[in-house]
Symmetry: C2
Subunit: 213 residues, 2 copies
DNA sequence: GTGAATTAGTGAATTATTTCACGACTTTTC
DNA sequence: GAAAAGTCGTGAAATAATTCACTAATTCAC
């Protein structure tokens, strides 16, 4: 069996990308693919792809490549694509609204179920078919949801994270620039868009002509 | 002098984070800080911080720490914070609109100067004080701007990237799920939000109780 | 059916990054 | 002004990730 503890984090981060790409191939009706083709399409070295897959066993066939449907089915199980993961979104501002209007469920096992905001003028609306509640109702509405997207103003990030964790949240996708502090059974991924933009500019200036990432 | 070619990419990616954080300390009027304090606040190991800084020379003082203003001034120069980098945004949809409404210039040397969309109903407006042009005017309007944020539908990503590169763009922050192909003097950073969300869920399930990233 | 071409899987080498741990120096305390 | 405490900078070790390069298996072309 697959030993998940042995799967490198770098590999784990690429899995959703592989999954989505295989799903597209499947939709296109392609039934076979090689690590070289995958490499060209996803800009990941072909040896890295083969190595990544190999952590899950021998999924391909020498001289042939990988069977798209088989591989897809395998990853579906591995990534638990069958069961949907419900998510809440906190902070229906510029960024929050964009996310509510986007259908993550397409190609993805996550779904934003409920949104919360402190601004009464946003409460009660439906955006992208998702109901917006007042943040005061968080505790009664969150139910069994353990994943949150955090798009509140930076000053609210830590208090809101504390409150989410109090309500049973175990994973936070944090778009605020604040580096929030959490107990170590809670996972936080930071996506810092301003940093990403600045980072791109820095790399453009100082690492010309090289292949990076 | 600093040899930029010797600076690890992992370090380079953290620099904008350091910069922003130091800027906040400066605004708060703090004049000294240790790698330990920085570590707590930014969730980066203190040895990693000291190592990162050390690529730029001996910026601190033993037994004391770092002088906030000195360090900030140093990074300002290093990250070229003095000169503003102009940016264009292509695709004024959900995500694009959110970015136009956000002031990246705060704490940051980048500024979205112009936006482009193919939808005539969006053209001519100002969003977040940024003028929206028709994408047909791209070539005449882009001038000396070499950085683009790409928030168009996935099918438009590659053709639009080609067109941007044709117009002199050297760096693209790509929010579409497409892994675009570019000449190797052009840098692309992909931010794949659906993948990030799925990745968070995967890590929650399979890497419980560990400190990651 | 046969030889050429293709391609997965992987041991080993390489490269990149993080972390430990300690000497050197500075500041603080009394 | 001496001792204690704090903290940087860094060599070396540890860990993580990527890439090379080869073998073995399979497919493909004819
Ligand atoms: N918009 C961007 O492009 C962008 C870019 C980089 C970073 N960010 C970060 O993302 C976060 C959100 O940005 P935004 O532009 O969407 O901001 P925004 O001000 O448009 O939205 C914030 C929303 O949070 C709500 N809110 C405030 N306090 C709340 C609370 N306690 N509980 C629930 N909701 C609350 C506000 O009513 C508002 O609707 C900010 O931290 C910002 O720094 C945004
Ligand atoms: N909104 C999200 O939360 C989200 C999340 C993950 C990924 N994405 C990706 O980001 C991209 C944008 O998402 P969105 O929700 O903002 O989409 P959207 O449909 O709201 O916006 C796309 C915009 O691009 C414009 N456009 C179309 N063709 C164009 C062209 N050739 N030139 C210029 N403009 C053009 C459209 O008129 C529209 O305004 C998509 O690729 C999407 O997959 C979005």
């Amino acid at each position: 069996m697959v030993n998940y503890n042995k799967i490198p984090q770098a590999t784990a981060k690429r899995l959703p990308l592989y999954y989505r790409f295989l799903n597209n191939l499947h939709i296109q009706g392609k039934d076979r693919v090689s690590s070289k083709e995958l490499s060209n399409a996803m800009k990941v070295d072909s040896a890295t792809i083969r190595r990544d897959f190999s952590y899950f066993g021998a999924l391909g066939k020498k001289g042939y490549g990988y069977n798209v449907d088989y591989l897809l089915g395998f990853f579906r199980k591995t990534l638990d694509q069958d069961e949907n993961t419900p998510v809440v979104l906190i902070g229906v501002g510029n960024l929050g609204t964009a996310f509510l209007n986007y259908n993550f469920t397409k190609n993805n096992n996550t779904k934003i179920e409920k949104a919360f905001d402190a601004d009464p003028s946003k409460v009660g609306k439906k955006i992208g078919n998702i109901q917006v509640y007042h943040v005061d109702e968080l505790e009664e509405q969150i139910g069994d949801i353990h994943v949150a997207i955090l798009t509140v103003p930076v000053a609210e990030a830590q208090p809101m994270a504390d409150r989410l964790i109090e309500s049973g949240v175990k994973g936070i996708l944090n778009f605020t620039p604040a580096r929030i502090t959490v107990p170590n059974d809670v996972r936080v991924h930071h996506i810092d868009l301003a940093v990403e933009l600045q980072s791109l500019v820095y790399f453009m200036k100082h690492y010309p002509l090289e292949e990076i990432e």
